[in-house]
């Protein structure tokens, strides 16, 4: 027996002692742990949101990209801890979600399980239920979407299910918040008598039961401890299935008794063992469904069918998809932009003035004012300006998923995306990437397969985001005023082209092997509940604000120190940033811009690419600050409120396409002059290509870290993109010079 196994045994021993202690305490004082399981699209998230509301705590399951939600709540004077398991169709060992769900159920052993079942899709949902029964953990079934099933004319024999499975069944409708109190009451009732609520052992047929008995006897002789440690029936069935995950965990090696037991089974059924077991489970689910469900004889064409006739139509499918994507993009960015700008203006103006005033009154030295304003407040502002766009993106993506259209979009786009090794659902993150790469990275969470998810996230930063545009505008204005549109377009196309190329390269290298499969349910269209949407959006936004915010803030402070150290530095050239720029400048010699100015700008561009322009402004054409009369506190406060109103108005008007006044253009003529002296048209194009391609901004990096739970993919992205950027810039500059385009 391996040492790992012994360690586990000890852990279990501890646990048993702990639970023994817990049993001595009065039942009321104990927290009841309830795992919530169910199929995807069964309304499980909505149900949890409706029960727990803002008490939900969102994180990740250790080591995987699967989201973990938990909540502690009080009901009827008792404490209940809800643990939301990932939505799964089965408890097989093949997807991250399934492994997370079953490991939790087997190793953490919750007191009971709430099994959320879609009443309109009983058979497939009962297949999972049958597997949960194997664990022997008391179960309360939430027969969800019950209202819809009733409206369809389904008649479900609720007591019949209870009798056959030996569990409690409560009809619920999470969107209408009905049945939830009953559900929690049953949870308490079950928790008071856990032993009396053990689910029934279901009969898998003579052959399988015979083989299971045989394996049980053999195990009792050779590994009695195992039968204690794992839910017995579950263990027997998993051993018979030769479940890869369990076999690895137990490290039993080959056991003759297993082969012996299975041989007979395989001979009798003429199939492999996994098929035999899946058949047995589905037969139970089908049999049960036949017993308890009565569907109306005359079936009307369902709403989903009607919508799909149009939405997935051969001719209309693509235009509708494009229109939906255009709307998603527009809503996400146009709706949020004015609020982002409002937050930016607030931190830039009033907050900095107030900080300076406060520091001034307490007599703090000047450098602290700069640290607080240009470091701390600028850093916080940096995080905050992203909040509106992330909220908007999460809201609309969640809506697309909850409504059922996301699956259709993937269905329509899969052929195209699959040709470059991606999944139909990769399209949306890529599209959002054109607005801002950060929401693009977060949107990869709609992809189930980790391979698809990571590959998509690595390619999203090649989409030319809005922050690169100011850099293009500056350079194009200086060097290509007559072909500005064409030049900018060429950069966007370059990004897409390289994404396709890199997709193919990654497919052949990092992600070699079997292409992930595309087996996806097209769920019925449903209206997601507004409160659940808002809650979900808030959870995500909050997560970004505090988790990602911390890193972003730290980097901003670091850059401030780079710009302002050593103390009292006057010339930018002498700051640590300038020195660092000078050190790395030779690297850019072969690509056409080996100056400390360009290199320093590129360094600060890591915070956010539009900062390249700001830094260039400071380095090439420093402005002399003009003293203005500072507004009073009252004026500032008024301005904040008024400008918020303007932002809200702008958000609405841009959506409705009401033309407003043209934006004021900042005067960049001095900077343009300086740049024209420092670059040639050819080197400026190489520089723009480099800005497009080199390592994404740190916020993208932090988003990747957050989504994947490791810095690894961020590192891969940063390295490959920088190498790619340098190579492309080299080809442009040297190739151009060779062709006589230089100078």
């Amino acid at each position: 027996m391996s040492t790992q196994l012994k360690v586990k045994e000890n852990a279990v021993g501890e646990e048993a002692k702990a639970s023994g202690k817990a049993a001595l305490r009065p039942v009321e004082a104990r927290v009841i742990t309830v795992a919530v399981a169910g199929n995807p699209n069964s309304g499980k998230s909505t149900l949890i949101n409706a029960i727990a509301g803002s008490r939900l705590h969102v994180g990740n399951w250790a080591g995987v990209t699967v989201e973990k939600k938990e909540a502690e709540l009080e009901f009827g004077g008792r404490k209940i801890r809800l643990v939301d398991l990932p939505g799964t169709y089965s408890l097989s060992p093949y997807t991250q979600e399934e492994i997370v769900a079953r490991d939790y159920l087997v190793h953490e052993r919750p007191d009971l399980i709430i099994n959320v079942v879609d009443a309109t899709n009983l058979e497939r949902n009962l297949y999972l239920t049958v597997q949960i029964q194997e664990l022997g953990i008391p179960m309360v079934m939430a027969l969800n979407i019950y209202d819809e099933a009733e409206a369809k004319g389904y008649r479900i024999d609720v007591e019949g299910i209870e009798k056959m499975l030996g569990i409690t069944v409560i009809p619920t409708s999470a969107t209408k918040k009905s049945g939830l109190d009953d559900l929690l009451r049953s949870v308490l009732k079950t928790a008071d008598d856990l032993a009396g609520h053990a689910p029934k052992k279901l009969n898998y047929g003579e052959d399988i039961e015979g083989a299971a008995d045989f394996v049980a006897q053999a195990l009792r002789k050779s590994h009695p401890a195992l039968l204690e440690r794992y839910p017995q029936r579950w263990l027997l069935l998993k051993l018979m299935e030769q479940d890869s995950h369990v076999m690895k965990e137990l490290d039993l090696g080959r056991y003759d008794f297993l082969d012996q037991a299975l041989q007979h089974l395989k001979k009798a059924h003429g199939e492999d063992i996994e098929s035999i077991m899946a058949d047995a489970r589905y037969s139970l689910a089908s049999g049960l469904t036949r017993e308890i469900l009565q569907k109306p004889e005359l079936r009307q064409m369902e709403l989903t069918e009607k919508i799909d006739r149009v939405v997935l139509n051969r001719f209309l499918g693509i235009p509708i998809f494009l229109a939906a994507m255009w709307l998603l993009f527009k809503l996400t960015f146009d709706l949020s932009a004015p609020f982002g700008e409002w937050i930016g203006a607030m931190t830039e103006g009033p907050f900095k003035r107030w900080a300076a005033a406060i520091l001034g009154t307490i007599g703090a030295p000047d450098w602290t004012v700069s640290l607080v304003n240009d470091g701390v407040i600028a850093g916080v502002g940096f995080v905050l300006v992203f909040v509106p766009v992330i909220f908007a993106m999460m809201f609309f993506i969640t809506f697309l998923e909850g409504s059922g259209y996301m699956a259709r979009a993937a269905f329509v786009m899969d052929r195209t995306m699959h040709s470059i090794g991606l999944h139909g659902k990769s399209f949306i993150p890529m599209l959002l990437g054109f607005g801002c790469n950060v929401p693009g990275i977060y949107a990869t969470r709609t992809l189930e397969n980790p391979k698809d998810k990571v590959l998509t996230a690595l390619l999203v930063p090649l989409m030319s985001c809005g922050a690169r545009l100011p850099v293009y505008v500056l350079f194009v204005g200086a060097f290509f005023p007559n072909n500005s549109g064409t030049v900018i377009w060429s950069l966007y196309i370059m990004g897409i082209f390289l994404a396709v190329m890199m997709g193919l390269v990654f497919k052949k290298t990092l992600f070699r092997g079997e292409a992930p499969m595309f087996i996806m349910e097209l769920p019925p269209y449903r209206m997601p509940s507004f409160s659940s949407l808002c809650l979900h959006t808030w959870e995500k936004g909050k997560h970004f604000l505090f988790k990602a915010g911390t890193y972003i803030f730290a980097v901003s402070i670091l850059v401030w120190f780079m710009l302002n150290l050593p103390w009292g530095v006057e010339q930018k050239r002498d700051s640590y940033l300038g020195k660092a720029g000078a050190v790395i400048a030779p690297i850019f010699e072969p690509v056409g811009f080996g100056t400390w100015e360009a290199a320093s700008s590129l360094i600060t561009g890591v915070i956010a690419k539009e900062i390249v322009v700001g830094t260039m402004g400071e380095i090439y054409a420093p402005k002399h600050e003009e003293k203005e009369d500072a507004p009073t506190l009252g004026e500032d406060l008024k301005e904040i409120v008024v400008s918020f109103g303007t932002a809200a108005k702008t958000a609405v008007t841009t959506l409705l396409y009401i033309p407003g006044e043209a934006e004021e253009e900042e005067d960049q003529s001095a900077l343009k002059q300086a740049i024209m002296a420092g670059f040639t048209p050819l080197s400026s194009y190489a520089f723009m290509a480099f800005v497009l391609l080199y390592m994404p901004c740190m916020i993208v990096g932090v988003a990747m870290r957050q989504e994947f739970g490791t810095w690894k993919w961020m590192a891969v992205g940063f390295v490959y993109q920088t190498v790619l950027a340098w190579t492309v810039a080299l080809i442009i500059y040297q190739g151009g010079t060779f062709l006589g385009l230089g100078g």
Binding site: S275, M517, L522
Partner: protein, 75 residues
Amino acid sequence: MNLARLKPGESGKITAIGSIGPLKRRLMDMGVLVGEEVKVLKVAPFGDPIEVKIKSYNLSLRKKEAEGIAVEVTG
């Protein structure tokens, strides 16, 4: 005959599932079992993937995966 060759509106009964390993298990978990009735509903605008009705819900899969599912045409 395999599932990828059925036209929209046609139904069949699954006679064998050719694939092995995770793919096969995943298909079975989704209700794609030998003996099951399956009806092709739609083909995506670009010709792949396809949408089928099985166990009274809608499932989409790529043609490559559908090719491994042998069916006998029933209607």
